[in-house]
């Protein structure tokens, strides 16, 4: 192609990427939890197994706001969920806008939850934008903890807090840490699930990482 050829449009470029299946739009996920009293042992184990621990495990302190957007044609259909995450310990970093689809219920023997997921870095007035778009805030929380990497896998061990309205320190919602093992990859790479399961087995019995049935959680009362 000559240097003076017309540039390819962004839409065409995206279509090509979709056809070539190189866009990481699928999340493979396992979740579990560990009590506060046992988290240090888990962190120690992860330090031994993971890659990014030269200068100690990486910490993060994020706030996440969850929005929903109802389908105007079908009020009974589940709303579209969007999540906005911002780093409280690095204010100049972009926001992360995340679309998460419903978990794929296809194969019950799959080792992990599989759901469509788009991670989009954003700057600008994202919260106002989503409000004007017609989204409604469902809930928000802050999450603080540690992030580990093992190849393509990301492991987070973090505590979830309620957002405090005044200057009081944030209140944790439980006496445990949420542990998540996830990989973001293009569609059709189901072998990743097996690698994740093998890694999760190395963390037993400190933490039991499993597929969560979100439908069962949806029926529990929320205080």
């Amino acid at each position: 192609m000559s240097a003076n050829a017309a540039p390819i449009t962004a839409t065409d470029s995206l279509s090509q990427a979709l056809k070539a299946n190189i866009i990481p739009n699928q999340e493979y996920l396992l979740q579990g939890s560990v009590l506060d009293s046992a988290v240090e042992v888990l962190l120690h184990r992860l330090r031994g197994l993971c890659d990014n621990v030269d200068a100690g495990p990486e910490t993060f302190d994020d706030q996440e706001v969850c929005f929903s957007l109802r389908d105007p044609n079908h009020h009974q259909a589940p709303p579209l969920m969007l999540r906005v995450r911002k780093a409280l310990d690095a204010r100049d970093m972009p926001f992360q806008l995340r679309y998460i689809g419903q978990p794929d219920l296809g194969d019950k023997n799959r080792p992990t939850v599989v759901r469509s997921s788009l991670d989009i870095a954003c700057s600008g007035m994202l919260i106002e934008f989503l409000n004007e778009l017609g989204c409604r805030i469902e809930f928000e929380y802050s999450v603080k903890g540690y992030m580990f990497r093992k190849g393509r896998m990301k492991i987070t061990v973090a505590k979830v807090f309620k957002i405090s309205q005044n200057s009081m320190p944030p209140e944790p919602i439980s006496q445990s840490y949420l542990v998540e093992l996830s990989v973001l990859a293009p569609q059709g790479q189901d072998a990743i699930g097996e690698d994740m399961r093998a890694f999760a087995d190395q963390l037993r019995p400190l933490v039991q990482l499993d597929k969560i049935d979100y439908k069962r959680l949806g029926h529990m009362s929320v205080s």
């Binding site: 050829a5 962004a10 990014n52 990486e58 970093m93 972009p94 870095a121």
Partner: protein
């Protein structure tokens, strides 16, 4: 080193600022890095150039190309700025429009401007934002027949960068948009006089005295790529209301 490019300097992520932010963000999310701006932001002016009655768009672009090459500029590829607009579903209440723009100068970015009544809210995101708009198709529908773009050669002349854009909508030629960028300066107030002088030398006396509408209230603020996009949107909206012209 990743081969993804930073949307501000459009280089591989090797500059100090980019690699610091990329490294931190890539570890946390595994996704794209996008940072707001560096001190090397650049300054644009966007002008329509009238096509005389008995002439065509192609003739005018060729004429301006000869002029700019005669000044000593060299062509450095082509550029493309495009805009697709999405209208909110009638059942969602007051009509809102989401304009999605892309600029080949920032290939890793998608610019989104939401028009709601009198206010405009913008978001700058990475390339996957286009995929999100597809997920929102029940709520916001694309008006494909009004997709509009400005495309053409790009020239560099010292500290200036000049782009001669032919504006087309649905294959119909609409007019010529000239974009001039003065790279060293980040504030409109400090450079509008110089830019106007350069434009007059290139285009003659048709250059307006006043800066572009979008910049008038922002003359003392740091210029960023979204300011260019607002200017393009202003012109594209005007072009959408006009009928097409002859191109050849």
């Amino acid at each position: 080193m990743s081969d993804r490019s930073c949307y501000v300097c459009v280089k591989h992520l090797g500059c100090h600022f980019c690699s610091r932010l990329w490294d931190r963000r890539e570890r946390a999310s595994g996704g794209f890095a996008l940072h707001t701006r560096t001190a090397n932001s650049i300054r644009y002016s966007l002008q329509q150039y009238p096509v005389p009655e008995n002439k065509t768009g192609t003739y005018v672009v060729e004429l301006l190309t000869k002029r700019i090459l005669a000044l000593g500029a060299t062509q450095q590829g082509q550029f493309l700025v495009d805009c697709e607009s999405y209208l909110s579903h009638p059942l969602m209440g007051t009509t809102k429009t989401v304009h999605i723009l892309h600029n080949s100068e920032q290939p890793a970015s998608v610019f989104s401007i939401l028009e709601s009544g009198t206010k405009n809210i913008h978001v700058i995101a990475d390339g996957l934002f286009d995929l999100l708009m597809m997920k929102l198709s029940q709520h916001y529908t694309s008006k494909k027949q009004t997709k509009i773009e400005s495309k053409g050669p790009r020239f560099e002349l010292g500290d200036f960068c000049v782009k001669l854009g032919s504006v087309t909508m649905n294959q119909n030629f609409k007019g010529i948009l000239i974009e001039v960028e003065y790279r060293p300066c980040v504030m409109a107030n400090a450079v509008w006089g110089l830019l106007r002088e350069f434009l007059q030398g290139l285009l003659g006396p048709t250059v307006p005295v006043q800066p572009p509408q979008h910049l008038i209230s922002r003359m003392n603020e740091i210029y960023t790529p979204i300011d260019t996009i607002y200017q393009y949107l202003e012109h594209f909206s005007a072009y959408r209301k006009t009928t097409g012209m002859r191109t050849t």
